[in-house]
Amino acid sequence: MKKLLGYIKQSVVDKNSALVLLLGLCPLLMMSSSLLTGLVSGAAAMIVLVLSGVVISLLGRVIPNGIKDVSYMVITAFFVAICELLLFAFLPSLRTALGIYLPLITVSGLAFAAAERADNATVGAAALGGLSLGLGYFAVIFIMSFIRELFGNGTLFGFRIIPEEYAIRLITTPFGALFLFGIFVAVFRAVALRAEKGEVEK
């Protein structure tokens, strides 16, 4: 249990895929405009990363070096396409919100990092590798979309919480998301540096 908690801490805090490794930013910024799209796309990314990690680790020994990257992209694209089809079928209201940005997960650094980790790893390790990248991504997109919908639109899951006049419209735009993300990274780095210093002094 302790080991699991430590693992989650490592993937969400120490090696966060978005805030520390800065991977998969384009889908992150575009799909965090509302809490629902953020949660759904974060979960979709996590599932895709785990599944493609498992398949890649199974096929890793069969695939020759020359076509590794191409094969990994095909496999990731395959899982993303399945996710997309399922979303179209069962959550059609998100279709326009997710638009082109869900397929973008395929070519984001996130997918490549997961494939790189899964290569030559055991199935379990590959699944965990994908899960850790996905968890970090999910945590950031959850917080981002929460803040963006609450302060930018004044709602949560579409329910009004803050009156419309007090909403900060800027946050809902893509460049508002970039500002917010920059602040996130800065704060995160500052806290991480301080924690590191504290550990050294001990």
Binding site: P64, S71, I82
Partner: protein, 211 residues
Amino acid sequence: MKAKIQEKLKAAFTLPSLSAEQKKELLRSSLILLAICASCALLLSGVYSLVEGFIEDNREAPILAAAARTLPADSHIRADFDTDEVNNVSAVYEARTGDELIGHCVHATAEDYDGEMTVVVAVDKEGAVVAVEVVSMPEGVGTKVRDTSFLSQFVSKTGKVECVGEITDEGQVVAVSGATASSDAVTECVNGALAAVSQIYAEKAKEAAVG
């Protein structure tokens, strides 16, 4: 100099000679990649055929909802109508209460300023517009055409509608200032719907005359 260039060109355009082993490796890689792509495509088409029905229903759902709002009736059934014959028309629905036909709802689309606009136009038995609803359109200044002040102008129009700056004649509507392209797109949809419905009645009259 010339000989050198020729040599380089030749080197660039001839395939590198491969040993038997390299050829075998290349063939193996290609076959593996082919196998991966083919199996992915096969599985994907399997998943698609499973969820295809749901996706189709979802596509139709907002149209049917708009049809129910613009022309309330017991049922809205998709009519057998050749949509290639009339511009802008994607589908026609027959609105029936009990057995009686009370009108048609037309699903029409038109090119807006930057993207496609989807409109449902309800037309009564006399071929006059009952209501118009914009189902979806690209976000922007054009969304002002969703206001009832613009859309209500189409009510009870027949034949062909013209979108103008100032009304001088019957059968005209005033465009929303600053959203002319979207106003034109809505008008195109309405005209398509009116044409489709008048064609349906013309065919019915012909059939009745023959019968």
